[in-house]
């Protein structure tokens, strides 16, 4: 009996000491109050107590942690300049950003992720005045072929080598030095690594080409490229870097092509046969 009393007293005392009222549910289903708790446990060290990207270890982080106050998120499925969807934020939280200090938080529960997103959406006034952008419509993916890869190389040469150079991120602009909107030095992605910070598949590459990367010099394609052309560039990058979904044949083929920025393609660009 005495044991039970001790345990009961412990529980009641602890609950009384630590009880905090739950706030009303925020839009999107997440609770920003609980989200703050999640943030303080997992995020504050990099993103800072004020969500300004100036946490304790931010000085050692390259690239720098995101400053949430401006409501500018680099990776989203929405057009350049628009707020990301909740699914976009959830994806980054779940998968992390490869090669950066942002780890994957797949072990967090759905509710934890939902709550912390709700909290992040209280950190910028943009979320009160704007809604998330409409996700970019992704055209049906044509089957990658030698011809589409060759065309993609030409388009890459014309549009991407300025920054990405031969694919490793050594273009002329990169060599001069580049910075993002927060003033931090950045380098173009090395596409030969087979995956990007956010991207793993040709579909992800398509989204990045189409939507660009907010807050960086990576522009959206806009009307400069048709959907088919975007797929061609995506297939070229996919084959060049051995990304997920690329075939050995196309990887070998892409490797035989002259690197972008060096000389003309070794094969003439054939008619676009990737259209379905």
């Amino acid at each position: 009996m005495s044991t039970a009393a001790v345990v009961f007293a412990l529980i009641v005392g602890a609950l009384a000491l630590g009880a905090t009222p739950l706030r009303a549910q925020a839009g999107g289903g997440g609770d920003p109050g609980r989200g703050r708790q999640v943030y303080e446990r997992y995020c504050v060290q990099c993103h800072g107590d004020r969500a300004d990207g100036a946490g304790e270890v931010a000085r050692w982080s390259q690239p720098r942690p995101r400053d949430f106050r401006g409501g500018v998120y680099k990776f989203s499925s929405t057009p350049y300049g628009f707020l990301p969807t909740t699914a976009d934020l959830d994806r980054v939280i779940q998968n992390g950003l490869y090669g950066t200090r942002m780890p994957p938080f797949a072990a967090l529960s759905t509710r934890e992720r939902r709550d912390v997103i709700a909290y992040l959406q209280t950190r910028s006034p943009r979320w009160r005045t704007e809604g998330p952008g409409k996700p970019i419509a992704i055209a049906a993916e044509p089957a990658p072929t030698r011809e589409s890869v060759t065309r993609g190389r030409e388009l890459f040469e014309a549009n991407c080598t300025k920054c990405h150079g031969d694919g490793t991120g050594n273009g002329p602009s990169a060599l001069k030095g580049m910075a993002d909107d927060w003033g931090a030095a950045i380098t173009p992605a090395n596409l030969l690594l087979g995956r990007g910070k956010w991207a793993r598949t040709a579909r992800d590459i398509y989204l990045r080409i189409t939507g660009g990367i907010n807050g960086t010099p990576m522009p959206e394609a806009g009307d400069a490229l048709s959907p088919d052309q975007v797929w061609q560039v995506a297939h070229y990058v996919q084959a060049l870097g051995g990304w997920s979904g690329s075939t050995p044949e196309l990887r070998q083929f892409a490797a035989q092509l002259a690197p972008p920025g060096t000389e003309a393609p070794s094969e003439p660009a054939a008619a676009d046969t990737t259209k379905r």
Binding site: T3, A14, L17, G18, E40, Q45, E56, P103, S109, T110
Partner: protein, 457 residues
Amino acid sequence: MTGTWHWFSARAALVVACVAAPIAANADTHRTPVGHTPEVSTADREKAEREWMYATIHRRFAATHAIPAFARKYGMKCSACHLAVPVLNQFGQAFKDNGYRMKNGTDDLRANEPAYWPLFGWLWKDYEVDIQRVGGQTVQQQGGISNGALVLGGLGSIGDKVSFRFVPIIYEDGNTIVDHGWIRYNQAFGSDWLNIKVGSAELDLPINPGREYNMGASRFAVLYAYSVPGSVSRFSVLFPQPGVEIMGHDLGSRNRYSVNLFNTGGAPRAHCVLCSPGIFGRVTHRHEFANGFLRAVKVGVFGAYATWPVGPDTSDLKGQQRLGGDMELWFGSDVLPFRATLMGITGRDDRALVTGATQDPKFNAGMLQLEYVPKLPLVFYGRLQVIRNQRQAVAGSLDDFGDQDFQLIGVRHALELNSRFAWLLELTYWRWTIKRVVPGGGNVTNHTVWLGTHLDF
């Protein structure tokens, strides 16, 4: 055989000689060779066995938690992985299951600053007051600052595929023991479901002794370490076992399994290479709820079968089995939860492991642990344990001979908890009763107040 015996006897002597707890202070340190008939009474040997066991627990698990090296490597607070240091939360569990990797391209040492090296240190010191009562009479009161220690260990991932752990503990009295030592190959065939660890590794227990509260006194582990009165076997699921572990998990570690094939630690090895084989396995599932006060439930089952050699030439293997189930309930918040953990275990040993036994002894045990984290550096906790001998090895023994009751309450607060170090304070009280073990059939009860500080860096 000689090397094993020297190792074993040295460790036994070391731990018994150095522990401050009063029950250990009364220990009979003249240990009988394992597998041989003792020349002391069953009751005396039972007492000595128990003292040795808990002394060992005290030593081994006083320091088996908190890895600031990871915080330094990944730039995260200790609290990212620990519900309250050192207890793992789900994120920490997934990190551990991944071989102490984040899997975000920064695990390989070559992806980190050259100055980083996966080394960490722990320092701790505690003050303890013990009152021992026998048959309702206080027979001993003592207190003092215990023997502190420094741990300088290595743990983490070297390449993307390889993780390791090596943890020597250096005590103030000059003694050194080596805790876990293993190497793990991560994601064989590219799958999270196949990870292979070789070496002396902890078993995947429901409430992991190496990652629990009571940083200086792991007496909570009485349930795991229990052996039936008079048993010569040293096997315990509590201790790391030398062998091979195969484990796997899904993304986020909500479904997991582990299987350990081992040679029972400390067993005499006179006649063979794999003298005393054993196996341990556990399967767990965690379910999270999208709404409601109940946030998550984790359930698991586990079992072990180990052998221990007996007889003049230690060639006769005798078995012990342990079966158990556990359930964790997370209430209120995933981040600052009220957590309840229930566990039950049943054990059965071969009668040949107990001198003079007339039947196979059996016991049942249970544990209830409650924790509450009102805010991040603060945790309150309580723990109940009961051990009941269902069938005594020697027919005619008192039914409750060797039964145990254990109750504990505590509070822990972190004065510092950042990406470089943690500084913890803890206050704990526990009461531990062992029944019928003194001549005349009386109980022994220990009351202990423990105040400790721990620095992890």
